[in-house]
Symmetry: none
């Protein structure tokens, strides 16, 4: 049942304090993400982050151990909608499932983008972050796609080809469309556009570009 925030977080004053701390932490993290996204982690200064979050520099250190730790916190707190979507679509036919997944994957919120952009930026250069943010997360998605393809090939529904390669190609198609958005040189697609993109790309994947030659 819908317990009050009071009950959830504690008793009265203490609960309010806790909630304020959590909220402030999130604000700082979002500010940091925006700054990192704009200039990259290394070029971002704590001064800028503090200004963006509208707190003093020293305050940052009450919530995070340092600049680096903010980045790691982002990596940890990033949500992965794919995972849940993936489970939701099991049992549906290829096309319906693929479209639903792509649609979910395209659906970024405006505020999430800075986080992803910041993390991608550093993961490109920092092995520890790549491991935490990517290999551990993204690779799981790819693995599931691979397994799915393998199953469909075994079932005779898909032509025989390397499923790992296929999975990577699928992920690649997605990247090709989303990277420009995350980089900030293409605009975030509206829900309708997400749907359309998902459909087109699914059809490309399933049937290719070529007109079927009648036998």
């Amino acid at each position: 049942m819908a317990e009050t925030a009071r009950k959830r977080e504690g008793k009265g004053r203490e609960g309010r304090r806790q909630r304020r701390i959590v909220r402030r932490r999130r604000e700082i993290l979002a500010a940091a993400a925006r700054v990192f996204a704009g200039k990259g982690f290394a070029k971002a200064t704590t001064r800028e982050i503090a200004d963006e979050a509208d707190v003093a520099e020293g305050t940052l250190y009450n919530y995070f151990g340092g600049k680096r730790e903010m980045l790691l916190a982002m990596a940890e707190e990033m949500e992965t909608p794919f995972e849940t979507a993936m489970i939701a679509v099991s049992g549906q036919d290829d096309r319906t499932a693929a479209i639903a997944l792509f649609e979910a994957a395209f659906a970024f919120s405006e505020t999430q983008i800075p986080f992803v952009r910041a993390l991608l930026s550093e993961a490109w250069v920092d092995d520890e972050l790549l491991e935490q943010f990517f290999t551990a997360r993204w690779a799981r998605v790819e693995e599931r796609i691979r397994a799915y393809i393998a199953r469909r090939i075994a079932a005779g529904a898909f032509r025989p080809f390397d499923p790992a390669l296929g999975a990577r190609a699928v992920v690649g198609m997605y990247l090709g469309l989303m990277l420009p958005v995350i980089r900030g040189i293409a605009s975030l697609p509206s829900p309708e556009e997400c749907r359309a993109l998902a459909e087109t790309i699914t059809d490309l994947l399933l049937d290719g570009v070529r007109v079927r030659v009648e036998s």
Copy 2:
């Protein structure tokens, strides 16, 4: 004839000097690329670059105006094999042409990778560099693919779909395979692997994953 080199590069001593300068410049640039690739542009220090190039720090400034200028020099001097390959394949059938192009695109040399990795790293964050290195180069490739697709659709050879989207999907597939290589978490494919990758991916693109349903 002993005159050849002389004539090509200049007059004896002066020519030798010129060649030494060009060679040294290239060595420094390669060293810088390796360092940038490893830690990203911003975290790389001139000290490290100098060490990697085995010269004194001051020497760097005899060849480049500064760190940033090295990056720009990389962007300018990057070769783009795609372009030439693209012209070479005109007039062949879809499959042969696509395979040849992908093969050319996969064929990076070991020494080129640090350059690309370094440039990608900064282009993710630096708009000027993105413009110079990417939008101006890469976008041209995409545009040509788009035009090709549009022509094939008009000719009735391809199913009707948004050619821009298709082009981006093609580029995306390529990215999905090459980014891990450039990032350094997958190994550079051998020439044979390049060929195999090119074939598989081409077939996926042309005919999709699905087994054709007999009519």
Copy 3:
């Protein structure tokens, strides 16, 4: 009333902070002036300035944008006692007025000297500084002297000669006496010496060195 300081400078803690900042800024500027005076602007290092001011190097940059800005701050904050003195003496006879002016001009404080020495040093070489510090300030003094001489010639009190030249000669006499002091090879005159200097120099100016030939 205890409220006075509060009201003047601000509200308690904030006022104290402001005053501390202003004080610190002045300390640093004085330290910089001493170092500049000793070795010239270009040879002075931020390290030395920091040591002289007994702060860390980084602290300098919390108060000034850099070495050059310190110099400009000096130029701006320099007081010009001449101006005020000039106005004060209007209406008095030639001799009284001239003596008062010279006396005011000779009255440098020990702490002002490094500022003037530092500024002169750079103004000798830097056109922008010369403009800001000198042409704009000093030239006004000369101009007023010129106008005065011109008036007195018109009134028949002074012999006819080029007033501009005369003004420059007056300024020159002053320079001849003060430059060694500012340079640090002559000692600052005591108030009594200032008075004596002013009288002697005034008499030289008004009547020359020659004994009057009785007619």
Copy 4:
């Protein structure tokens, strides 16, 4: 007797070599003076001096031990026309002698100015240079003027006043007129102007500005 340069400097080839070296040394020194005059000793770079002298940087070190030594060479080689002029005028009446001296002192050549400007600039800040260039030279001039004034006072020709102060005032008048020229904000006076300046200033000195009151 007008010996040929050949005989003076040596025999044939060797003499030519010697003369070339001397000439080159002078060229470099003049170039250095121009650069020092423009930006001050400390901000001037050996690169600029080499460019100005149209030789390679390394060549400078074949003629001078280093940057500093160029400055000292300037101080040594500076001519002092005052000295000779001073002797030439002995025995003439006050006015004629003073005019001749001032005229000689105003007569700078265009090429001498950079030397003086460069030396003044550093002497303002460098005690060793001040000693060599000034105290040792200039002070002698002042001393002679002082002695002259003392003699004339003793002879009853000049009013009684501190002769040292008078000497300094005379030098000061000269400075007031020449400093702007050396600094480069006033133009070098033509020979006619020199004469006029000398006369006006001499009359000011001897008789002052005031019209004589008839007794």
